[in-house]
Amino acid sequence: MKKIIFSLVLLIAIFINSFALAQCEIPKHKKICFRWLLKEYACKIVGSQLAAKNNTQNYYDIDGLRKSIYNKVINSKLYYIEYVNFINENPRLSAVYAELNRLIQKKIKYDALDKANPILIKPAMIGRNANYKLTFNDKILHSFSPPPMRKDNLFFENKEESNVFRTTAAQEMAYAIFENSENWINDIKSLQEYGPLIVTRLETLLTGNDDGLDFDNVDDLLILYCGFKVALENPASYSKPIDQIHFSNTKYIDLALKIYERAVLPKYKAFIILRIISIHQCNYPKPNNKKALEFALKAKNDLYNFVDTETKINFLYLIAYNACCCVAQPPSWNINQKYYQICLDHYTAMLDILKPMLNSRALSQEKIKEFIIKAFYDISIAPCVGLVTLYALSKNFPEAIKSLDIVISMTSPGEDVHDSAVKYREMLLNYIKPLEISDIKFLSSNGQEVKWGEILEINQEYTIQAITKVPVSEPSIKINYSSNYGNGNWDLKKLQNNDTTYQATVKIDSSIIGLNPDNKWRFVAFDYLPDAQSNLGDSKLFIEKAKNQLGYIDGGYFQASSSGIPNEVKEDFSNPVLPITKEAFVAAGVEYLKIEAGNIKKIIPFKNQANMLYYSGHGSSSDGSLVANVAFNPIDIQNNEWANLRVIIIAGCSVLSLDNQLQTPGGGYPKDPGIKWVDLGKRSNLKYFLGYRKTAPRDNQPTGNTTVPASKIICNNFFKKLQDTTTGLRMAWCSDWMGANRNKNGWNACAIEVGIDNNSTNKYHYWIKTFWYGVPDHDEIIKTF
């Protein structure tokens, strides 16, 4: 029965209400316009939140629309009713009108409190008894104000849009406190009257169990709390509005920490400590990152296990960020290992949490990406921080570049962080480029730069200079050296007052040059090109065979030419060719010291006498000299100056002839130039002289049935015979040389084998023509003398 009566009353009320409203309706076209206005407002609000967060033009329109709607609703009951009807018809859009509702409710509430407009004291949306007289407590506890619209409230993707503007009980309390503090605390008297109550309520909110406040709420409340505390402690400092009373950061932190200690909700504790960290980070004039780091570590220690993932990431980020700021300080920029490790560990931990979340919905992908980028390269503050900075500070440029590559891959051109990362990457690439050396100078003890062709002595000090292309800051640079068996590096120090020159004085001794652990034989080759009939074919073949066939070590290649025939003399790191000089003959072999610094290479010949010398060029039958661009005679060699040489091959005319002295058939030179060579053999360790007693085959001498010149055929034959020597037997230098020449081009060949001492006999090998039984042939004759 009661139900029937209640329904009847309700129907009558609706009918009456409808009737009353029908009496004074908004004209239809105006109603449509108003509804269109409401829809436009809704569309622009939704659109701006979803797609155009930073579109100021949209917000300008929205503000205009809001004002327009507000004015209509506030000034006309009919429009107000229409407004309420529209919202009730479109409940999905109710959240969109939250800000407008707040403004309207605020107006209604003030009007009600002022009793200026008792008609609106009971609006449809609030439903409160119009005759009830509100107390101050009521005003605090029951006043309603929806939260202001926040552009970043879409942070949690899984939060439904309709919840965005939903207020919690704690928030309602907070807004009430704010509004009443603003409206009722107008002087010191009202401060002292209501202030303690508000402080108590604030403390209750911040340290209670109601977790309905968000970070901004807590932040605002803390400021208000501090304002009241400061104003109550010193009423003279009171000013309006109360939340803008000045107090120091220290005071704030002190009060905030007290709330922190009393707070029971980890969430609020986190909010409070994050604000404290922020204050230290933003400390003016100089950020106090060490203090910020201290609180960030405290936050992690106290709260890490009790907070949500986003807050955990925030803690890790703040620790890493502040540690990064402390890793290296000017002017030394030395790395503090403690902060380095803290920073590295926390950025790594942050990434360990974030990377698996990339394809989850636990956090918005945009936010995850933002955090990952920040972990690598955070340009939101200057100087930038992140792993890139950490690696760059520790000069680990490859890792820094790898980190930048990740940032570049996650961002797009045009984005500040992308463009900055690209530029920074280029800069770092320049750092990891090897130091560019423009020149290396090798100076002898008199300070003169060693020129190509000079043959240096070991066991002396030399100065090495490296000149960089551009001034560099390094106090020293390393340059590498190598010889046949030795290698190492030298530390060159920067010269004072010279930003580009590095220098070191080094002693080149037998630990660098002259090592021969395998006791391999070494060879040296000289080739002189006196005329167009000459070429380098035989000496090149000799080098190739000696090196590859016999496994001998290259002891230098010397060349010279006349009549404009080009030679190959050059300071080439791989194939160096030295000019023929008298000193080169005396040295009879070199070992190269190879120096490398960056892209510059230098090669320096040091005297290291070979065991076998090959000479291709003119020979003088009158005095036994080797006639190249310089004349070299055996008498130029002092006793024991050729201590290492054992074999000399003279692919030149006549100089070994002893035909006159030994009365050998077929000879033609009366002066016996070979005597000087035999004499040299007696006063040195050179024992085998292989050459010619008359004309030697020319470099390009044709051989009739083949295109290979005679000199090359002889060279090939010689090495074949040397290789064929039975293992374990002494090299048969003379007979192999004679055998190699056993053809129509080599019948002038001869060889001298000098006895090991003055009492020993020497041997002279030569060919004679024979006609045994009328058959033309040649026989190798050996004459002892």
Partner: protein, 228 residues
């Protein structure tokens, strides 16, 4: 332009033709009778030719076409004379000279084989074995040369006792005294080849044979130097 090409062609043709003109065809088939006889009427002529031959091989290193034509003519005119074998021997000798073309060597080899195969009982056929060994050695076929010499040991051993050996040496004007010690040459030559082959042991064995068995010869003297 055409004229230039024609002239160039002609010059080239003449040059090529000229180079061919330097090489003469060595006759390989003289149609000598199987049974040759001693012919005293040709001795004088063959001695003149042999003097010229000895002079040629001492003084020059290439094929003497003038002498060849004389020898060739001699053989053609004396197809039944033993002295034609000596003339043939001299033609072969010229083919083995240093500066001769490979063409002559090839023809010389064919004539050597002709002598060995057809007149092995004659002194010229026996000495052709030496020629063959020399030819092989020239071609660096040292092992083949040794095999040939060892295979024909008895033949070469018989040369010294061959009644026609000394008349042959006289006929060819080969006056060196060591010529009569065929086996001294044989061992010395074998030793040289062994030496070339780096077979020191066999080389020394053969040099020592020369030294011990033919100490009076120049071969022994050279052998001593070589094994010092």
């Amino acid at each position: 332009m055409k004229k230039i090409i024609l002239i160039t062609f002609l010059v080239c043709f003449m040059f090529v033709n000229n180079s061919f003109a330097n090489t003469i065809e060595v006759e390989l088939n003289y149609g000598l009778l199987p049974e040759l006889k001693y012919d005293p009427n040709t001795i004088k002529e063959i001695k003149i030719l042999s003097d010229e031959y000895v002079k040629t091989i001492k003084e020059r290193d290439n094929f003497d076409s003038v002498l060849y034509y004389k020898l060739n003519s001699f053989i053609k005119n004396n197809k039944s004379s033993l002295n034609s074998l000596s003339a043939l021997y001299m033609i072969i000798g010229m083919c083995l000279l240093d500066e001769t073309d490979e063409f002559y060597l090839l023809n010389g080899e064919k004539l050597i084989d002709y002598l060995i195969n057809n007149y092995s009982k004659h002194i010229q056929g026996k000495l052709a074995i030496i020629m063959k060994a020399t030819l092989l050695e020239k071609r660096e076929m040292n092992l083949e040369a040794i095999q040939l010499l060892e295979k024909n040991y008895e033949v070469i051993l018989s040369i010294e006792n061959d009644s026609s050996f000394q008349p042959f040496l006289d006929e060819l004007n080969l006056k060196e005294p060591d010529n009569k010690y065929m086996m001294a040459w044989y061992y010395y030559y074998l030793a040289n080849i062994f030496s070339k082959l780096k077979d020191k042991n066999n080389a020394v064995i053969n040099y020592n044979k020369v030294i011990k068995q033919y100490p009076q010869t120049n071969f022994a003297k050279e052998a001593k130097e070589k094994i010092k």
